[in-house]
Amino acid sequence: MTALLDRPVLVKPARPVVSRRRWLRAVTPLVLLAAWEGGVRGGLLDPDKLPAPSTVIATGWRLALEGTLGEYLLDSVQRAVLGLLIGGLLGLALGTLAGLVRLGDDLVDPTVQMARMLPHLGLVPLLIIWVGIGESLKVTLVALGAFFPIYLNTFSGIRNIDERLVEAARTCGLTALERVRHVVVPGALPSLFLGVRLAFAAGWLSLVVGEQVNGQGGLGFMMMEAREFSQTDVVVLGLVAYALLGLLSDLLLRLGERRLLAWRHGLRAR
């Protein structure tokens, strides 16, 4: 077929292509941002429905100077960290138990797999009855969101470890505990990192939902209050803040990954 024959053979060096592509990646967001700004200024977009990016930045600056933005941000981050810690540690503990011990697998895994099918955000009405609309609701939602990805990836990370490596470690005279330390933990770490990344995503999502249920403080509260007064710029600012928090957490995670999974980067570099 001519279509196949016409395709040129790729023999170009890879490096320039990569750097140019990286630069190209910034084009679309920048164009969209410019179009948004131009649209508002040109009267195409109603600023009451969607304020210009420059307005949002100005509002952010003003609220930051007043101190309210920082305060709300801290509230949200506190809830997220607490929820991720509780849910994450629980997921890690149960995932390790189910992954390492046959009895733990039988007792824990089927139940967790069933509970996983329940959309945890659908539990909001029930949770309100159980824990009220205060801080515990937000933290519980984040913890629930974080639990499942960490549990699942801890479990599969442990289960997918190459049995032959465990065997080799045994012939090297490692005790069961040493095998866990030198083989199981590092072997499950890539999967665990994936779990943490998914937990962050689920955690932020749960926080957004949780913070829109009444309550005091936090970015969600700021946005709901702004909606009452039709301050669209503050609503958009809240969205931007959520997005930036998500981005920041992902960045931190990547940094940790680069340090702890250096052996995999060595693999890729070659």
Binding site: L165, A168, A169, C172, H182, V183, P186, W263, L267
Partner: protein
């Protein structure tokens, strides 16, 4: 002739192992003397690797008795290095006692990889990785080295170099070794004694009396080779 007990590093009696209804090992008796290199030959699926795993203590479901005196180390067909540990840490894995760094470096020097101590296993070639696996076994100063087709995954040239290396290491350290192989030439080059596993038992226990240094083109090698191939039910020449 009954060998003295003190000079035996491994004795197996009546070893049996079955997978489901298939009996793989049906009463294997085996003795390995101190410093003796024994090749375990057998066709595919004859249970060679199973027997080696039992001697290494890796098979909990076998019956019979296995007594091993002194320390053992295992080299597998694949290098089985931990990908998340650098070469030196892989060699040092589970080694106790002082001056660890010196011992690890000495072992790596012996296999010619002293300059690769800080490399990741993924950065090594197949032959290099297998040499690290040898260093990992050597640093334990084993009385018995168990090798499961240690050169089976290597290309022909690397395999020849590794066989030379094995001969040198053995001369230096004087360990006893049991190595599983399906390569008759390899068995005749390296072993003091050849065992042929067939039908779940040791069908043949044959000392190799060829003079050292051995070579495939030395006199007597071809005749011995034909005998072993005959025992393995391989026709001596294609006809």
């Amino acid at each position: 002739m009954a060998a003295r007990t003190a000079s035996q590093v491994s004795v197996a009696r009546g070893v049996r192992r079955s997978f489901g209804d298939t009996v793989v090992l049906d009463g294997v008796d085996l003795t390995i003397g101190a410093g003796e290199v024994v090749a375990l030959l057998g066709g595919s699926g004859s249970g060679k690797s199973t027997l080696l795993r039992i001697l290494a203590g890796l098979d909990g479901e076998a019956t019979g008795s296995v007594t091993t005196t002194g320390s053992t180390a295992v080299v597998f067909q694949e290098h089985r290095l931990l990908p998340w540990k650098r070469v030196a840490a892989n060699v040092a894995l589970g080694v106790r006692g002082g001056s660890l760094r010196e011992r690890v470096d000495a072992a790596l020097t012996e296999v010619g990889l002293a300059d690769r101590r800080d490399a990741w296993p993924a950065e090594l070639s197949g032959g290099q990785a297998q040499r690290v696996a040898f260093a990992r076994a050597l640093v334990r100063e084993p009385d018995l080295l168990l090798l499961d087709e240690p050169f089976g995954a290597l290309d022909a040239l690397t395999r020849l170099r590794m066989q030379v290396l094995f001969g040198r290491l053995r001369a230096t350290h004087g360990f006893a070794a049991l190595f599983v192989t399906h390569d008759v030439d390899e068995a005749l080059l390296l072993a003091d004694r050849v065992l042929v596993l067939d039908g779940g038992r040791i069908a043949e226990d044959r000392p190799v009396t060829l003079p050292q240094p051995r070579a495939v083109d030395a006199p007597g090698f071809g005749a011995e080779r034909r005998v072993l191939l005959g025992l393995l039910n391989v026709p001596a020449s294609p006809s």
